[in-house]
Structures are given as structure tokens and as C-alpha cells.
């Protein structure tokens, strides 16, 4: 049984501190977590460091622990909620008069990882921006309405999962046609933000500090024709999106026919299987949309690691890939992606 006392490691430079804090958020100890960051502030630690080096990094470890199947999804969510409370406690102590312009921060529609952008929001407030934080999963029309009503100088748009890129693209184009330049952020935009450029974003930042620095110099950039980058994707993308229900449905039927165990699944297991197969189609579509094979390759590698941590061997994923592959005949690019994925699972 674990026990904490109020006298945990006090310094952010103490290697034990990160583990201490991880323990607090992992146990859902809101008071302990808030107390820890409050003490750091009292000791004169800059709030930026607490947000980035402690709360942000801890959140990264929470994600890793979930991926490694060491923490349940419930524990991950609970830990995130506690991290948000700790962040709010830091933010409550920050009082900076806005001296720069106004910035709108949002997660793209369907994107629920809000903590990283919440940290960014507070970092920008500290830097003198007036910040409108719209939160997780902001539908495009809502975002655009907000822009017309508040007229910000920048939109910071976060996307952690590449399957949201088509929607991120629509949001980027809409923001830029409303005259507001976009800074993109989050893993979903690919290594070094490579996909952000294809989607027409005016800038990309890998970390909250990078975003703060980028917005601090020569912003706003001039906006060229927003429709120059308004159309991506090809007929394969269109097919995959329009036929998604059929592809997943057929795959499920054939799976049940081939594996009697699957036919005996209850609704929860069936839903989970359908979701997994749906992911294959969604990542294929995203890779075709952006024209980046790496999106699908990375998905296969990542899924294999996550499944392996849960005791599921690679062939299970290969079965899923084959079930989609055998339904696609006239889609040479998608077939190439699936073959490459199957090779990765060998």
C-alpha cells in the first residue's frame, strides 16, 4: 500500500519529484497535486516550468503508461483530470495584463486531448496574449463563428491523431479565408509538422514554448490565397470515406465466418472490433488525403506496440489489414499502403 506525506521532494530538479507528482495524479489526489504545484510556486519556480516540465511531462508519461497497458483508460482519464486541476491552480496565480493581440485556441473536431493546448493557453496568457480557449473537439462552424465575433490575430489548432487531418484541413482553410492565420500543433501534424504545411497552416510549433516564440515574432504573416491549398485527397480517399460502412461491415461478417469465437462476441466486443477495423480504414483514408504513406505505416507500428502490450500478437492486426485489402481492387495506392503495413507485421 502506498503512502504519501506532505513532505515529498520539494524541488522540480529532484528526480524523485516527477515520480511523486505522477503518483499524485495517478491516485486521483487532487489536493495533493494542487498542493505540490502551489508549493513550487511559493518557492519561486517560474509557472512556465511547472506547466511544461512538470504537468506537461507527467501527462506524456501518463500516455506512455496507458500505451504500455500499465494504466487503465479510466486511470488515464482520472490522472488527466487531476493534471487539469493542478494546471488551473497554477493559472489562478498568474495575473498578466494582455499587451499583445488576441489568440483563439481549439482542438480540431473529434480531438479530445485538451491538456496540451490548455498548457499552451496559459503559456500565451503569461506572454501577454488575450486567449480564448475553446476546448476539446471544436466543430469547424463553431470555430469560424467565434472568429467573426472576436477577430483574433491567430488561431492555434491542435490535432493529435492524423485521422482528424481532413477536418483540421477544413478548419485551417476556413480560418484563413476569414483572414486569420493558423498555427498548427500536435503530433497529428506529423514529424516536424510536415503535414501542417500541406494543409495550408501558416506555421507549426512542436511544443508550447515553440508556439509562444513563433507568435512573438513577425506575426501575423501575410495570408496568401487560402484556396490555393483548399483541395487535397484523391478518388481513393473519396472511395474509402464513402464506402467505410460497407468495408467495415463486410470485414466483420467475414471475420465472424472465419473465426467462430468472433461470432460469439457480445455487443461490447463487437463494437470494439468494429472500431479497430474502422481505424484501419480511417488511417488509410487519412494517408491518401494528405498523400503521406507514413501516416499509415506509423499507425501500423503504433497499433502493433499497443496490442503487444495487451498480449495481442501481430497476426491479429494482419488479419484486419487483409480483410480490408481483399475488398479493395481498384485502389493501387491504398493496396500499396496495406502491403507495406503487412510487411511491417512480419
Amino acid at each position: 500500500m502506498t503512502v504519501f506525506t506532505t513532505t515529498g521532494p520539494r524541488s522540480l530538479d529532484d528526480p524523485d519529484f516527477a515520480d511523486h507528482f505522477l503518483g499524485l495524479v495517478g491516485d486521483g489526489d487532487e489536493y495533493g497535486a494542487v498542493e505540490a504545484v502551489t508549493e513550487l510556486l511559493d518557492d519561486g519556480v517560474p509557472p512556465q516550468r511547472i506547466m511544461v516540465d512538470l504537468i506537461g511531462r507527467t501527462q506524456g508519461r501518463v500516455g506512455e503508461l496507458w500505451a504500455a497497458n500499465e494504466w487503465s483508460i479510466a486511470r488515464e482519464h482520472a490522472a488527466t483530470a487531476i493534471s487539469e486541476r493542478a494546471l488551473a491552480a497554477v493559472a489562478a496565480r498568474i495575473h498578466v495584463r494582455p499587451t499583445r493581440g488576441r489568440v483563439t485556441i481549439a482542438c480540431v473536431d473529434g480531438e479530445w486531448h485538451a491538456l496540451p493546448v490548455r498548457i499552451l493557453a496559459e503559456m500565451l496568457r503569461l506572454d501577454g496574449w488575450r486567449v480564448d480557449f475553446l476546448g476539446a473537439s471544436v466543430p469547424g462552424p463553431h470555430l469560424v463563428t467565434h472568429l467573426h465575433q472576436t477577430g483574433p490575430d491567430a488561431v492555434a489548432l491542435s490535432c493529435m491523431i492524423p485521422t482528424r487531418l481532413p477536418r483540421a484541413h477544413a478548419a485551417v482553410t476556413a480560418c484563413r479565408s476569414a483572414g486569420v492565420p493558423v498555427i498548427a500543433g500536435g503530433r497529428g501534424f506529423g514529424p516536424g509538422g510536415r503535414y501542417a504545411q500541406k494543409l495550408g497552416a501558416d506555421a507549426w510549433a512542436g511544443t508550447a514554448q515553440d508556439a509562444v516564440e513563433r507568435l512573438a515574432r513577425d506575426w501575423p504573416p501575410p495570408i496568401d490565397d487560402p484556396y490555393a491549398t483548399a483541395y487535397l485527397g484523391d478518388d481513393e480517399y473519396t472511395y474509402l470515406v464513402r464506402e467505410r460502412a460497407t468495408l467495415v461491415g463486410t470485414a466483420l461478417r467475414r471475420l465472424s465466418a472465419a473465426y467462430p469465437d468472433v461470432a460469439r462476441y457480445d455487443q461490447r466486443q463487437r463494437d470494439a472490433t468494429a472500431e479497430d477495423i474502422g481505424h484501419i480504414v480511417d488511417f488509410l483514408a487519412a494517408a491518401r488525403y494528405v498523400g503521406e504513406p507514413a501516416i499509415f505505416g506509423d499507425f501500423v507500428d503504433w497499433t502493433r506496440a499497443v496490442l503487444q502490450a495487451r498480449g495481442v500478437p501481430p497476426p491479429a492486426l494482419a488479419v484486419g489489414l487483409r480483410l480490408i485489402r481483399e475488398q479493395l481492387t481498384d485502389l493501387p495506392q491504398a493496396l500499396r499502403l496495406l502491403d507495406d503495413g503487412l510487411n511491417r507485421l512480419r
Partner: protein, 577 residues
């Protein structure tokens, strides 16, 4: 056309003899001279060694009067020609007496060459005019695109000064009509940053032509405006003397949207009639954008005032009870709809907190207005100490008597109070609404056994209330049917359904209330694959988990809800006695 064929034939016939027997007849020099004078092209004949001009034809004399035979080509009144000769160039372009001249040199024999001069003034003027026209068109197209992009007035003003400085002036100031004796302005100087502020209406008269422009009078030509009269406050101190000033009205909706003041630096600066025309066309576009933005702002402000009471409320946080609300409107731009929730805090007579969640028929603004009325009625009923069942009965009568047909509502009303040991007691009554779900500490999910008839349909309501108790960490979820009826899944058309909702809730065991509600939202969003079609409202009432003992410095072991997980994951550093 008809003569063409015989000539060709004739040439073919006489060609061979012409080559074999050339006939040379020397023309008299006077005749050659006359021939050259009659030619429309200006010609100079020069010696190759000394560059002495031997002959100047009539066209050349007319074009450049100072050209004389016998003079040196190195010292002609036409500077471009002299330079070209000195530098050995074979062509030059120069302006002489307001004409654009172009010269080409052709060698004639070893000792002589000739310059052929052409007047290209018209061609050059035409090209310049065409380039200017093209630039104006491109500028206006760009202006139209950028000005139409935003409905936000500050952004429109910003775009206006940006464009004006890029194309038309060294400084641009937009001044808006005075409101409450104050006039807002925005200014940009080449190479500077946008500045903004407001000034007293009485100061507007200090800028020549500004009051007229804001008053809707025709624009005053730039040459009538005395640039030296510009007051110091209009432009930054380091701008320097203003050479030319142009004040153009920004036309709006039947009254001016503002005025655009353009300034150019330097003594010889000026605005040509073409500049003034361009400024006027540009101002028309800018004015339209600025006044449309003003109209939008007025409507948004009005809508915001009207919406204020219809938006989900900020929830109070009563002691010992956690309340979490979540609302997602189908029409995202609007953020209001037919689902609603509200919380009424304790009164002097009653310590209970009252929670309400419901759904009126329909969506959008019409539905939202009805939710406002329902919420207000319940708030009043709360003050006369009505219990949940009574509240539903009176609300039913009120809706029936309002005279409008087909306006019904389903809702759940609950009275929330604390009991001992951190437990929370809820008395819930449903009027035709899906029964709330309770998430127990062990992860099981129960349906609260309350039921009742729709409110606002029949005069006699039948309501079956129910009471549940929540132990610390347990949660009761009130939700609207938009949640269970969300269509999605693999087929894209299947309802999310109560079964999945129960599973989802069960997976939220021991989460803080906010995390649980967010997780359910996320799972439904994933189910529908984005693009919600219906309003979704959720209100969770939770008995907070006990405060960890560590906070009190007691050092007693705490029962972490994730104890098993914790032991497995963090064996490294964690055990501290």
C-alpha cells in the same frame, strides 16, 4: 488579292534574266536627299571615324530641332544619342522634350553608319496606362477578397489600412463616425505597426475635409485640402511634413461607415485624379465591409443578450456535492437548442439543491425560447418550496394554459441533499424523460426507477418519483435522449443506445465527475464519427470521493481507487512510510 497571282507569275518569269544582267542607274544626290526628307522615319548619317553628322533628314530635324549636319554626334542636344555614340552602343532610349525616343544604329559601309530614330511616346504611354490599370484591377480584386473575408469590424478596419498603405499612401487612418462624442480610429504608417485609439468628436474638425467626409458630403479633391493644416495628432511625430492629403468617405448603410484619410510624405507629393478615383472605389468596398461587420456585430450583441438566459448556467458547487454539466447544441454556431439543464441553490427555507434536465420538442431558437420559459417557471416554483413532483404538476398546468398546442417537454427534476458520512441523497421525478443512471462504486450501473407522463400534453400528470443515495465516489447522470439516439457506429446509422451508455458509464468508475462526463461525451462523439445531429445535455451529480488522508498529514494508508494498478505500475519510488 486579284493582282497577287499575276505578280508572282511575272516575277518567276523575269527573275533569271534580272540576275544575269543587273542594270544600275545612279540617282542624283538631290533626289536621294528629297527621298530621305520625305521618309516618316528620322535618319542621321554619320562618319564612322569622327562621328561627324553628314546628313539630318526632315523628320529628324522636326523630332530634335538642334540636330545639324556638320556637328559631332558626340555633342548633340539628344543626350541619349551622344552617350550611345560615346559608348559604342547600337541602341538607346531617351526622353527629349516630353517625347519618348528610341534610336537604332545601322552600319552602312566601312566609313559610315546611320541612326534611325523613332518616337515611341504613345506606345510607352499606352503601356504605362495599361500597366497602371492592371495594377489597379489586381489591387481592387485583392481588396475585395480580403475585405469580404471577415465579419469582424476591427479586422475589416485593419485590412483597410493594410491595403491602403500597400498601394496608395505612406499613411492611412480610418476614422469611424462619432458615438457618444468619441470617434474611434485605426492607423498604419508604411513599415510600422497598426495603432488604434479614440478621440473627441470636437477634434475631427481639425483635419481638413474630415467632418465633410463623415457627414456624407461628396469627397473634396485632394488639391483643395491644405496638407499643412494636418494636426499633429493625426500622424506619428516622426512621420515628417505631409505633402498631400486625401480624405475619402467610406460609404455605409445609408450613412457613412467612416472616413479614410490618406497622406503622402514629401514636398512634391500629390494625389492625381486617377489616385482619387482609385481611392473612391476602394473606399466603397472597404465601407461595405465595415458596415456589414457593424451590422453583424449589432446582431451578435443583440443575440448574446437574448441568449444569455438560454445558455447553460454556471453551476454552483454546493458543499459536499459535485455538479458537472455538459451541453452540446446541434447547431454549433448558435450554442442554444431544445435541451437544457439548470441548478437552483438552497433557499432560506430549504437546504436542498434542485437540479433539472430536460428536452423541449424541436431544436434551434424556437425550442431554446421555450426552455427559457420552463427554466424560469421552475425557478419560481422552487421558491415556493415545491417538491420535484409538484414542480412537474404545476409546470404541466402552466404549459397547457399557455394556449399553444404541441409544445411539450420531457424533464427530470431532482432535489439533492447531503446525508451523513459524505453521502448524497437525490429525490428524482421524471416527466416522460429517460430515467437517470447511477454509477455505483463497484462499477455497476443502475437505472433510477422513476417514470411519469410528458409535460404539457394531458391535464393529469402521473409521476412516480424515486429516491437514491450516492456513497462517496458514486455518480448520478441525468441526460437527454440526444445521447442515446446519436446515430453512428460501423454502419453510420445505428443508435448509440442505452446499453452502450451504461457500458460507457461503467468504464468511468472512480473517475472525477468532470472526467466521467467528458469521457461519455468523447465516446459518443467517436460513435457518431463527428457531426452531431441533435442537442446533447448531461448533468452529473456526484458524491465527492473522500479527501485523501495524506492531505491531513496523518500518514495513514489511503485506499487508492487504483491501488492494484498503482502497485503494479509504480513499484519503483512510491513506497514512503
Amino acid at each position: 488579292m486579284t493582282s497577287h497571282v499575276p505578280v508572282q507569275t511575272g516575277e518567276r518569269a523575269i527573275d533569271p534574266p534580272a540576275r544575269t544582267a543587273p542594270t544600275v542607274v545612279a540617282a542624283p544626290p538631290g533626289l536621294l536627299r528629297a527621298l530621305l526628307d520625305a521618309a516618316p522615319e528620322a535618319v542621321l548619317l554619320c562618319t564612322a571615324a569622327e562621328h561627324t553628322i553628314l546628313l539630318v533628314n526632315a523628320a529628324a530635324r522636326e523630332l530634335v530641332p538642334g540636330l545639324d549636319a556638320g556637328a559631332s554626334a558626340l555633342a548633340t542636344p539628344l543626350g541619349g544619342l551622344a552617350r550611345a555614340v560615346a559608348e559604342g552602343q547600337d541602341a538607346f532610349t531617351d526622353e527629349y522634350d516630353g517625347r519618348q525616343l528610341h534610336g537604332r544604329r545601322r552600319p552602312l559601309d566601312d566609313h559610315h553608319y546611320a541612326w534611325y530614330l523613332r518616337d515611341r511616346t504613345e506606345e510607352v504611354t499606352r503601356t504605362a496606362a495599361m500597366d497602371a490599370e492592371r495594377a489597379r484591377t489586381a489591387f481592387l480584386a485583392e481588396a475585395g477578397r480580403r475585405l469580404s473575408a471577415s465579419l469582424h469590424q476591427r479586422r475589416c478596419l485593419r485590412t483597410t489600412v493594410d491595403l491602403a498603405v500597400a498601394q496608395m499612401a505612406d499613411a492611412a487612418v480610418v476614422v469611424l463616425p462619432a458615438s457618444r462624442r468619441q470617434s474611434e480610429w485605426m492607423r498604419l504608417v508604411t513599415g510600422g505597426a497598426v495603432e488604434e485609439g479614440s478621440l473627441r468628436e470636437s477634434m475631427l474638425a481639425e483635419v481638413p475635409g474630415l467632418v465633410e467626409a463623415l457627414g456624407g458630403f461628396p469627397p473634396v479633391p485632394s488639391r483643395w485640402l491644405d496638407a499643412s493644416q494636418v494636426p499633429g495628432w493625426l500622424l506619428p511625430a516622426d512621420f515628417g511634413p505631409v505633402g498631400a492629403l486625401l480624405v475619402t468617405p467610406l460609404p455605409g448603410n445609408a450613412e457613412p461607415a467612416g472616413a479614410l484619410v490618406l497622406a503622402r510624405r514629401g514636398e512634391h507629393a500629390g494625389f492625381t485624379p486617377d489616385d482619387e478615383l482609385l481611392a473612391r472605389i476602394f473606399a466603397a468596398r472597404a465601407g461595405a465591409a465595415i458596415s456589414a461587420a457593424a451590422l453583424y456585430r449589432d446582431q451578435v450583441d443583440t443575440a448574446a443578450v437574448l441568449q444569455a438566459d438560454l445558455l447553460p448556467p454556471d453551476l454552483p458547487q454546493p458543499d459536499g456535492v459535485e455538479l458537472i454539466g455538459s451541453y452540446q447544441a446541434a447547431r454549433d454556431g448558435l450554442r442554444i437548442g431544445g435541451d437544457f439543464y439548470d441548478v437552483f441553490g438552497p433557499t432560506a427555507q430549504n437546504d436542498d439543491t434542485v437540479v433539472v434536465l430536460g428536452d423541449v420538442c424541436g431544436t434551434g431558437p424556437e425550442a431554446a425560447v421555450l426552455t427559457g420559459k420552463v427554466r424560469q417557471t421552475l425557478r419560481a416554483l422552487r421558491l415556493v418550496e415545491a417538491g420535484p413532483v409538484q414542480m412537474l404538476e404545476v409546470l404541466n398546468q402552466a404549459l397547457l394554459q399557455s394556449g399553444r398546442r404541441h409544445r411539450f417537454v420531457t424533464l427530470v427534476v431532482g432535489a439533492v441533499g447531503r446525508t451523513d458520512h459524505g453521502r448524497v441523497r437525490l429525490t428524482l421525478a421524471s416527466g416522460g424523460h429517460p430515467p437517470p443512471l447511477v454509477l455505483r462504486a463497484d462499477g455497476t450501473v443502475e437505472e433510477v426507477p422513476t417514470s411519469g407522463t410528458l409535460i404539457g400534453v394531458v391535464s393529469q400528470t402521473v409521476v412516480q418519483p424515486a429516491t437514491v443515495e450516492l456513497a462517496p465516489g458514486e455518480l448520478c447522470l441525468l441526460y437527454s435522449d440526444g445521447l442515446t439516439e446519436a446515430r453512428g457506429g460501423p454502419s453510420g446509422t445505428e443508435h448509440y443506445g442505452e446499453h452502450r451508455l451504461r457500458d460507457a458509464l461503467s468504464s468511468c468508475q472512480s473517475m472525477p465527475g468532470a472526467a466521467a462526463v467528458e469521457r461519455v461525451r468523447q465516446l459518443v462523439s467517436d460513435w457518431v464519427h463527428g457531426g452531431m445531429r441533435d442537442d446533447i445535455a448531461m448533468l452529473a451529480v456526484r458524491a465527492p470521493a473522500r479527501t485523501p488522508l495524506s492531505l491531513r498529514g496523518g500518514g495513514a494508508p489511503i485506499g487508492s481507487p487504483f491501488a492494484i494498478d498503482a502497485r503494479r505500475a509504480d513499484r519503483r519510488q512510491r513506497a514512503r512510510p
